[in-house]
């Protein structure tokens, strides 16, 4: 998000899901789309099979989409910047870039050009393992497409260089004039249903709703007036920083609504220790999650089917959820709990319905100003939607970037923080699988998905399996510098040699015991996609 915001002035998905079905080329990188965003995966496959859309996949794993791709660039994990710089090297060297667009709508091209000069296909092959010829082919295919759309997900962002990766993909897209046009764009696919909305609503340490900075005095005054309170000008701590601050005693009380950091955070042993040091841990959730078990107070909340409200999907589309059934026992919608709690500590926050809260949101969030529950009745609306007669925005940066001119960032390749060595010879990459979601609290309590994917699997290439003497279906121990987990081996060509893959849905094989908490310095995203491990039969 930080990467896109720096390049374009907005961190959101630039274009819409439907446009994937009428673009000329899709470049998918760091997204196992058919498993993590199946309906978007469906549209990509449809575009390829039925519209003749070209598909380039850049991914270390032989994901399902590879079957549909014209070109698959299989890079070593964590070498994305090198590969993308290599593509730009070819495109500039062969004069295939959108010269007029670059001149009229962007800045920073010269620095970019100088930087990518040394990323020749041969040099990139040495770093990434991607054959020089394939890289050239992909570069030409991408550059020659009239409209090309990039989709990416956590596979690009969960690296210490996550922000760099995103800036580089933004560079590539602007270089070929693909931002601000229908069917183009740079499109981060959000993993969880309302990540976009949570960001839009200011559930971030440095901004109020609609990304209005807390450090800006005028903005702060506006919110102080609206909320009738004195507000702090000091940006707060990010999630991983909070956990560390809990360890040092700087944070004494933590209120967690609907998250399960004990499974999702990197280096779990560390997180558990820090959480136990708190004076007060409040967890509000629908189940007694691993995190809730450590809490001093657990508050039962209503599920999405038991309340009204809105979610904002990955393409900025604000959509309604509607109450279908009653919550069990005394469970309540999260908003009712927050509002009661606020009154108890002497700051009345009273609302009669979710709709009333939404009305307050639209009065303080310019990009949502034109949206009402009534308008959402039939179909969702994509922000920015500034007025009541505005139809919503299908794609961003038309004619002009949010920040004015699109900004190229000259970025050098930096290797991942932890690389394999003699003791830990394999790379572990983590992610999701089709049948489960996040920390598994919901899908693991759903019969069908659990039947289809009942236990955690470690995906291992046949060559590695042979080397380490591991048979399909056998229990294995995976050990990193931070800990060890056991899970069942699945021998598959999906994992390339030297790389194993695990998901983080299963608490009993909590892969984040292994992962490296090294953070991207800007995005503060942990490096989930690369850490060094060893593999043994259990």
């Amino acid at each position: 998000m930080a990467g896109l915001a720096a390049a374009f002035g907005s961190g959101a998905m630039t274009n819409s899901i439907e446009e994937l079905e009428y673009t000329d080329l899709i470049l998918a990188t760091g997204t196992n789309t058919t498993e993590n965003h199946p309906i978007i995966g469906m549209k990509v496959k449809r575009a390829v099979r039925q519209q003749g859309t070209k598909l380039i996949v850049i991914d270390p794993r032989k994901i399902d989409l590879v079957k549909y791709a014209d070109i698959w660039l299989c890079q070593k994990p964590g070498t994305d910047v090198a590969v993308l710089n290599g593509l730009m090297n070819v495109i500039i060297a062969e004069g295939l870039y959108a010269k007029q667009y670059v001149e009229e709508r962007t800045e920073g091209f010269d620095a970019l050009k100088t930087t990518v000069e040394k990323y020749t296909p041969q040099y990139v092959e040495k770093i990434s393992g991607v054959p020089a010829e394939d890289l050239k082919k992909a570069a030409r295919l991408y550059a020659k497409a009239n409209r090309a759309s990039v989709i990416y997900a956590m596979g690009l962002t969960q690296h210490i260089t996550g922000t760099d990766n995103v800036k580089t993909i933004a560079n590539l897209s602007m270089l070929c004039g693909n931002v601000g046009i229908e069917g183009g764009g740079v499109n981060p696919l959000r993993g969880q249903n309302n990540v976009q909305g949570a960001c839009d609503m200011g559930a971030l340490p440095n901004v109020y709703p609609a990304y209005q900075p807390v450090a800006n005095e005028d903005t702060r005054k506006k919110f102080e007036t609206a909320w009738k309170a004195t507000l702090s000008p000091k940006p707060g701590l990010t999630l991983v920083e909070m956990m560390n601050a809990a360890g040092t005693g700087q944070i004494r009380a933590l209120y967690i609504m609907g998250e399960n950091p004990l499974i999702s955070d990197p280096d779990l042993h560390h997180v558990e220790k820090e959480l136990k040091k708190l004076d007060l841990l409040i967890v509000q959730d629908i189940f007694l999650t691993e995190t809730a078990k450590l809490a001093d107070v657990v508050l039962p909340s209503a599920s999405f089917a038991e309340k009204d409200g809105t979610f904002t999907n990955t393409e900025r589309r604000v959509q309604r959820i509607r109450k279908a059934i009653e919550a069990p026992g005394e469970a309540k919608p999260d908003w009712e709990i927050i509002s009661a709690l606020a009154s108890q500590i002497g700051y009345p926050l009273q609302y009669s319905s979710a709709q009333q809260i939404f009305e307050e949101i639209t009065s303080l969030t310019p990009s949502y100003a034109g949206i009402t529950y009534r308008r959402l009745e039939k179909e969702g609306l994509q922000w920015p939607c500034p007025t009541h007669d505005h139809k919503g925005t299908k794609f961003l940066h038309k004619d002009r970037f949010s920040r004015g001119r699109g900004l190229f960032h000259a970025i050098e390749f930096i290797p991942p923080a932890e690389l394999p060595d003699a003791e830990f010879p394999l790379i572990l990459s983590t992610g999701r699988v089709l049948y489960h979601y996040h920390t598994g609290t919901m899908t693991r309590r759903a019969l069908g998905p659990s039947e289809r994917y009942p236990e955690s699997l470690v995906e291992i290439n046949p060559v590695d399996a042979k080397k380490f003497g591991i048979a399909d279906g056998q229990m294995v121990k995976v050990t990193s510098r931070r800990g060890m987990v056991e899970a069942k081996a699945q021998i598959t060509e999906k994992s390339p040699v030297g790389i194993i893959f695990m998901n983080f849905h299963f608490a009993e094989a909590a892969v984040n015991i292994l992962t490296n908490p090294a953070l991207d310095p800007t995005g503060k995203i942990p490096e989930y996609k690369v850490c060094a491990v060893k593999l043994q039969a259990a």
Partner: protein, 356 residues
């Protein structure tokens, strides 16, 4: 302006769009032609011939779903010849299956049942001879009873053309034709990803929701339109509610963007967590660090939290308190949460798991 094509349907003069089929043109003009194998957004295969109409000067009846309009066509949808042929087809389908509506989950929304009723058929003229396939109940999500299959091929086209999962096809031809994954495998033993698109398009009770079996009749259920709670696509869906419980989940083609009625396995079959016995039903408090969590009332819980938060704030300042909002909660709740942290507590220590 593109040129219109002038045709006549049932005596009515109609300007059709070039490239339209007779069926599309009739539907646009409010003329009903029954169909069975036709399914929008998939190819027209002309498999069932239920949609046949009479076209003057044509040698035989034509399938309206496959036949493009041409200038001057004179079409009749409602002649004795058409109805007799339709009856014959439908009676053959009826008698070659085990269409026992008494216990069928599709009862009331079955397209075969509707056709039989619409064509006013009392009884098939042929002896009923179901093929005697075993019920496929080897997974917990989708049940298949191919004795109710009319071989329309909609499931195959949905799997290949809508979802592009490329799992289903016809195996064998002619009177032994059967739909299913390769090698006649059960879904659970195939590469099926349980999106349930085949189930959603099946016109009969051949493919049904296993867990919704005997859980409520179609007309007893309330339908609530909502947004999927799993990934960022935000699919629009219907929750089917019976006696305060969610019985099944379906896509709805009328809802349009972003998913046009399609869903994935999590959205369609992953919602039973809602009524799982593990759901938290009462607040819990741990009064002392070494004690267990104990049930409490809301008032106790609010007071416990308020006292502690106020104490921490007083001794260590507002910035010693932090909050994590949630990418799984609504916009309204996230907004309120950050307002609570910022205005009620007085800190900007608020974040969520977007980065994870």
């Amino acid at each position: 302006m593109e040129k219109k094509i002038l045709i006549t349907i049932d005596g009515k003069e109609i300007a059709a769009k070039p490239g339209q089929t007779i069926l599309e043109c009739a539907r646009d003009n409010g003329i009903f032609i029954p169909t069975l194998c036709h399914y929008s957004h998939t190819t027209n295969v002309g498999a069932c011939r239920v949609c046949m109409v009479e076209v003057e000067k044509a040698r035989s009846l034509v399938s309206s779903c496959c036949m493009p309009v041409s200038p001057g066509m004179v079409i009749h949808t409602d002649t004795k010849q058409v109805r007799d042929a339709q009856k014959m087809i439908v009676e053959l389908l009826w008698s070659s299956g085990d269409h026992n509506c008494l216990t069928c989950e599709q009862n009331g929304q079955c397209e075969l049942q509707n056709l039989i009723y619409w064509l006013k058929i009392e009884k098939p003229r042929f002896t009923i001879q179901p093929p005697g396939y075993a019920l496929e109940d080897t997974n917990t999500m989708i049940q298949r009873d191919l004795n109710k299959c009319v071989l329309c091929g909609r499931c195959i086209r949905a799997c290949n053309e809508i979802q592009v999962n490329e799992v289903l096809d016809f195996s064998m031809r002619g009177s032994h034709a059967k739909v299913g994954p390769a090698f006649d495998a059960d879904y659970i033993d195939s590469s099926c990803v349980f999106c349930g698109e085949c189930l959603q398009v099946c016109p009969t009770g051949a493919i049904t929701y296993r867990q919704a079996k005997f859980a409520g009749r179609p007309w007893e259920m309330d339908k609530v339109k909502t947004t999927c709670t799993y990934c960022g696509v935000g699919c629009q869906m219907d929750l089917f509610v019976h006696e305060g419980k969610i019985v099944k989940v379906s896509g709805n083609r009328e809802y349009g963007k972003p998913n046009e009625g399609s869903l994935c396995v999590k959205g369609r079959f992953g919602m039973d967590f809602i009524s799982h016995p593990d759901r938290l039903k009462k607040p819990l408090i741990r009064h002392n660090k070494n004690e267990e969590l104990k049930e409490a009332s809301w008032d106790e819980a609010y007071k416990f939290i308020a006292d502690k938060l106020t104490a921490v704030k007083k001794t260590c300042g507002a910035d010693s308190i932090a909050g994590l909002a949630s990418a799984r909660c609504t916009n309204e709740e996230n907004y309120l949460f950050q307002k609570f942290m910022r205005a009620a507590i007085g800190t900007n220590n608020v974040d969520h798991c977007a980065r994870l």
